[in-house]
């Protein structure tokens, strides 16, 4: 455990030593801020419209449905598709390029400790991103009355979604010593996983169903509606486990050649 934390701590520190953390945080908060503002504005317009039609006393539109859900499901998942590669692309690629991978692999650390340490380090930065989101969401609680439970479902969904991408990005980063390649391949892979469920709209074959099941988006639906379904949780946890497992395989293969 101490070893895992040492590796995780090193990763987090090196994010904040380099411009990457600040860049990711800046991009994220700018995009998140803009879309949050625009959903809030749409919501307010809607509130006024309903007041004009129904007069006072009618139920105001649901904040969760009008702000939280579109923000999480429609925007943040897409933003993560290109921000997560920025976080994961360096994890192994940089170690391989600078030769520090030799230090890690000749230290008394197991492969799994290295992998989990790196994963937790990246997850740490991701959690900081999520906390930023909740600064915006917190404002909703000050000026409105969103329901907390569906919001938590959304947050849990987004957390698992991001963690799954991090695990896959970690794996892809172990293929190459070039960060750009790792980043580009990760983005392409994430995008594909994201759009796989579109197949559903034109194919009802078995392949279509399987692809749609594999898609990251399919399993976000329930979370977005505020429902925590165990099968969705299992899906994302499996993505994480598979990502970490494949990274372990890849690290083993790495040792077979120089």
């Amino acid at each position: 455990m101490r070893n895992i934390l040492a590796v995780a701590g090193k990763e987090i520190r090196s994010y904040f030593h380099s411009p990457i953390a600040y860049l990711v945080l800046a991009i994220y908060s700018a995009l998140c801020g803009f879309f949050f503002y625009s959903f809030v504005a749409t919501y307010i317009v809607q509130v006024f419209r309903m007041m004009e039609m129904g007069g006072m006393g009618g139920p105001s539109p649901n904040i969760n449905e009008w702000i939280v859900r579109p923000l999480f499901e429609g925007i943040l998942t897409v933003v993560l598709l290109f921000l997560i590669p920025l976080i994961t692309m360096r994890l192994f690629a940089e170690e391989k390029r600078s030769g520090t991978i030799e230090l890690l692999l000749t230290s008394p650390l197991t492969d799994l400790q290295i992998i989990i340490g790196k994963f937790l380090g990246a997850l740490g930065l991701y959690v900081v991103l999520m906390i930023l989101t909740f600064i915006y969401i917190g404002m909703l609680f000050i000026y409105g009355n969103p329901s907390a439970l569906p919001l938590l479902a959304n947050a849990l969904g987004l957390f698992l979604f991001g963690a799954g991408l991090l695990a896959l990005g970690l794996w892809i980063s172990s293929f190459t010593k070039n960060q750009i390649i790792a980043g580009a391949v990760s983005f392409a892979a994430f995008l594909l996983l994201y759009v796989f469920n579109w197949v559903n709209s034109y194919s009802s074959s078995l392949v279509g169903k399987v692809l749609s099941y594999l898609s990251l988006t399919t399993h976000f639906d329930n979370f977005a509606k505020g429902v925590i379904d165990l099968s969705d949780v299992i899906y994302y946890v499996s993505v994480i486990v598979i990502g970490l497992f494949l990274t372990a395989r890849s690290l083993e293969a790495l040792k077979g050649r120089p």
């Binding site: 101490r2 070893n3 040492a6 590796v7 701590g9 090193k10 520190r13 090196s14 030593h17 380099s18 600078s98 030769g99 520090t100 991978i101 030799e102 230090l103 890690l104 692999l105 000749t106 230290s107 008394p108 650390l109 197991t110 040792k255 077979g256 050649r257 120089p258």
Partner: protein
Amino acid sequence: MIEVQQLTKRYGPTVAVSDVTFEVKKGEVLGFLGPNGAGKTTTMRVITGYLPPTSGEVKVAGYDVVEESIEARRHTGYLPESPPVYTDMRVSEYLAFVGRIKGVPGRDLKKRIDEVSEKCAITDVQSRQIGKLSKGYRQRVGLAQALIHNPDVLVLDEPTAGLDPKQIIETRELIRGLSGQHTVVLSTHILPEVSKTCERVVVINGGKVVAVGAPDELTHRLQGFESILITAEGPRDEMKARLERVEGVTLIEEREVFDGRATFEVHAAKDRDVRSELARAVVESQWRLLELRTSGMSLEDIFLKLTTRDLSEEESAGSARPETETKEQ
């Protein structure tokens, strides 16, 4: 401390190291000598547990590097060819990280960092960012990293590569200072380094061990004869004829003739000292003896001899390890 038994490492069809066997005793400094691409780095990577061997057995401090890899790695410090430093970290921060992953207990960490920093003369740069340090300092930070957990075995891959002459001397002194308490294996393709720092040498070429021994022992073993250089003033042909008659002399060659002086290289049977007879022959003939000395083979000669292909012909004369027949592989 280190046992390497019939180690073979293949990368797909290419054989990087083939059937290498050697042993390093506790406290010894072993030099690993060979041309670039001979398999030095591969062997070291197997010893440090970075690469698994294709076949054969390697033990460090009694632990098998495959079966008990973690335990073996705990006893090994490794400095790869380029120091494995994180350029965005400060020196002290880096050493603290390496100390933690190498299992230095938290309460000793600060003390160990200070100790190795002092040993490697990097105390004054402890708070500097590694990326901004010169190559020499980075190399020393790399060495400090290898020492942080006070390992029994130190593996140094070309520790002086890319340093300036002053830094090279300092590094060598540092390594010599480490022998005794640590067992050191270092690789190099620079010959003087071996004779200056190592007690024993393993010469490797084309993935095979071609000779093992102390530097001067190798010289002696490889040369099938004693070689003596003699310079005297006098009639050249007469001198040559007289020296040839000295008992035990097998060959005499003129090396240099200048201003009435002649230098001859005299070969005599191995383990036979003909120097005093040579001197007497010259002096009794009333010629003036100017110089008389034995000339061993330089390490360069040995190296070239061992790593060139016609070794097999020379083999009958010398007694180097007969590994040559499979060298074409």
